[in-house]
C-alpha cells in the first residue's frame, strides 16, 4: 500500500509536515514499514481543502489532528 502526502506550498501551510511526521511514527509504532510505503508529492491540485493525502488511488483530505483516525480507518483497516 502506498500513502502519498502532498508537500506543496498550500498543503505545507496547512500542516503537511505534522501529517508526514505523525504517519512516520505510526508506521514505525505498528511495525508496518514493509507493508506501507510513505511518499511525498508536490501539488495534486486539491489546494482548497485540508492536506491532500492519497492511499493508492483514493484521494483524502485530512487535518493534522485527524491523522490517527485516518490511519485507523483508511490504512490499517484496509491492509
Amino acid at each position: 500500500m502506498k500513502v502519498t502526502v502532498c508537500i506543496g506550498s498550500s498543503c505545507h501551510l496547512k500542516g503537511s509536515r505534522t501529517v508526514v511526521e505523525r504517519l512516520k511514527e505510526l508506521i514505525e509504532e505498528k511495525n508496518l514499514g514493509d507493508k506501507v510505503e510513505l511518499a511525498g508529492t508536490f501539488c495534486m491540485g486539491n489546494c482548497q481543502k485540508d492536506v491532500c493525502v492519497t492511499v493508492d488511488d483514493n484521494v483524502f483530505s485530512i487535518t493534522p489532528e485527524g491523522v490517527d483516525a485516518f490511519f485507523e480507518t483508511e490504512v490499517i483497516a484496509k491492509l
Binding site: V5, I7, G8, S9, S10, H12, L13, S16, R17, V20, E21, K24, L38, A39, G40, T41, F42, C43, G45, C47, Q48
Partner: protein, 390 residues
Amino acid sequence: MNSLFADIGHQSMNKYGEQLCGDHIDVLEQGDNSTVIVLADGLGSGVKASILSTLTSKIISTMMAAGLSMEECVNTIADTLPICSVRGVAYSTFTLIHLLNNQTAEIYQYDNPLIIVLRDGKHYCPPKHIHQIGDKQIYHSRIDLQENDLFIAMSDGVTHAGIGLDRKFGWEREDIIQYLESIYDPNFSAKTWATILLEEVNNLYRFKPGDDTTVCAIRLRKREVLNVMFGPPAVHEETENMISQFLASEGKHVVCGGTTSNLVADYLGKELKPNLDYYDDDIPPTATLEGMELVTEGVITVNRVLAYAKDYLKDNESYVRWGYKKDGASQLCRMMLEDATDINFFIGRAMNPAHQNPNLPISFSIKMQLIIELAKILKKIGKRVNVTYY
C-alpha cells in the same frame, strides 16, 4: 568576457558605545570588470571620524575612477579635509584597491594596516614601492591577479584587538596571517571572510571593541552561472520554449515550485522524487530530479532565501544557519550567495490556482514581489543578475 570575477565583501563594527562608524568603505564599479575599492579610517571616532572617512573614500574613489593620478587624489584630500581642532591635522588613513579588468590590482596604502594577500591559501607578499607625496608616504603595489587570490584590507581596529586584554600588542599581523591560513577554505565567500574575521576581533575585544573595526575581503574566482526557474509561464503554450531556454543556459540549474518542477520533469521524461525529510520545520522538503542540481518548493522557500539574503547585506548573522543546513532554502542560499557569480532567473507569470485560496498568505503578487526584491538584493551583494519573464 573575462573569466575571473571579483567577489567583494565587507563588514564593520562600531567602537563600543558609538552610534556611528569612523571607518568607511566605498566600492565603485567601472564597467563589468573594473572596480575601485577604498577603505578609509577617519581620525578619532564618532561623527567626526565618520565624516572624515566618508569624504576621503568618496574623493579617492571618484577621482581614481575618473582616471586622475594618485598624487592628485592625495593632494586633494589634504587640501579638502577639515582640520581637527584638537589635533591640528586633517587626517584619514586609507587603502585603495583598483581592480583593472579583473587582471591586475593596483594597491595604494596610506597608514592603514598593510593589506594581507593569500594566494591559494598561502601568504604572498607583493613587492611594494614607496611614493612620497608631500609629507605622506604611500605604498604602491601592482599585482597580476590569479584565481583564488584573496585580499584582506582592514582598519587598525583589527590589529588593535585585544590590547591590554589577552594580547600585549594586539592582534599582530603575523598572527592574523597564521589565523587566515589555518582556516583557509577556497569556498568561503568574501562576505564570509569579513564576518569570520570580525567575529574573531570582537572576541579578542571581549565584545567591547576599543576602536571602529572594518574588514574588506576581495576574492578572485572563476565565474559560475546559476539558472533558477520559478513558476509556469502565463501562457501554457510557452512552457516548452521556457524550459528549453532554461536548460540551454550554461551553468547549474535549480527549479523552484511544485508545479514548475513537475513541468520540467515531464519535459525531461524523468521521475520527480520528493523527499520527506524536514531539516527545517518551516521549509517544505526538496525533491530530486536527474539533471537538476536542486528542486525546491516555491514561495515559502524563496521567501526564506530573501530573508537570508537581506541579512547577508547587514550583519550576516543567519549565516550560522544557512551555512550548513540541508533544507531547501539553506541549500539555495549557499548556491546563490556563495557559489554563483551570475544568476539567471527564468520567471513564469502563471497565476497558480492553488494560491488563490483567501486563507493562505501567498498570492501571485507576492511571488512577483519576491523575485523583484531578491534580484535587487543579489545585485547589491555584487552578483550579476538577469531576470526573464515568461
